[in-house]
Symmetry: C3
């Protein structure tokens, strides 16, 4: 049995931004030497997400607009009484999810035709970290 | 350490439909021979979900109605400028989740009394695929 | 390869409540002896969640208020025709998620600075169960 751990570092240009990290995750899986197993890809910050969807710029805009409707920026969150101003980002990340687990089969991410891995940042412009943990044989 | 990979194929009759796949997943786990470990069950298409909830027809209707409220069919999504018409399905799948990871204990899915695994299709009537990856010993 | 299985039992005082279970999960990981691997932490009931966010009381209130907006208590759910009255709890749990998978690195939960594990109960005041499954070496 093999395990392999790596970290990706991302500083987004925008406060809210969706970034394709598929090739970075593939590089970690290749480096691990695991042929059959699973890889966990997880945001290490609680206002950011890792999720799987489609690489299409219009859809990324749709996601950000929709998240703003479901979990709007709003000064009245209780969390803001601590001095924070990012409660909406905690809620947005919850909708999109913290992590994905992907099957590794024959040394590849075992993906359907359109699956791509994204980092979703909702309180960015700061250095953030993603953990990539590979386990298998 | 053992790994085992299998695929389920589903063509729904309806465009949006929720289908119980628990017994199919159990069959894959049995076939794998894994006694202690984990199984990943994941939609391989980005307008579909795998999730765990209750086998109750009324609740399935509630889920579909609720998803239509949170992520409605709407011609104004940016994604539709590509010629697609299924942006709502990408959003609905995001609410319901792409994948589940289930513990395997004593050769069984280690489930509470009501847990059942479902495939949620939001842009169906086409052949779709689910990956089932078992890992353990 | 090692696996280890444990269960946490929780009876919440409130019907809807968010409880920090990080130290209980850490105790199970320590007991497992796994140095490198993954831990699955999963609600075994379909009206409850396990999720990762921030230990901040105001944010917990924000989560519960926000869930009430997205998935309100409402007598008109179809699920209630069975005699149940908790359809909202099934929907709330879906937003928050059923399970988390956390990397274990050097015998520790491989967490960012603010990550904490929570049990989210949406139909409580009854004894509920969480499965903690550790796998690795």
């Amino acid at each position: 049995m093999k395990t392999h751990t790596d970290y990706l570092f991302i500083t987004t240009k925008q406060q809210k931004e969706i970034i394709n990290i598929t090739s970075e995750v593939e590089a970690v899986v290749n480096k691990s030497g695991v042929k059959e197993g699973m890889v966990l890809v997880s945001a290490m910050h609680i206002t950011a997400s890792v999720f799987i969807n489609d690489e299409e710029p219009g859809l990324k805009e749709d996601f950000l607009k929709w998240l703003e409707e479901l979990a709007p920026v709003n000064p009245s969150y209780k969390h803001h009484q601590t001095g924070e101003d990012n409660a909406d980002a905690h809620l947005k990340r919850t909708i999109m999810g913290r992590e994905v687990v992907v099957a590794i089969t024959k040394s590849q991410l075992d993906f359907g035709p359109w699956e791509q891995i994204f980092y979703g940042e909702f309180d960015g412009q700061r250095k953030k970290r993603i953990v990539v943990k590979v386990m298998g044989e």
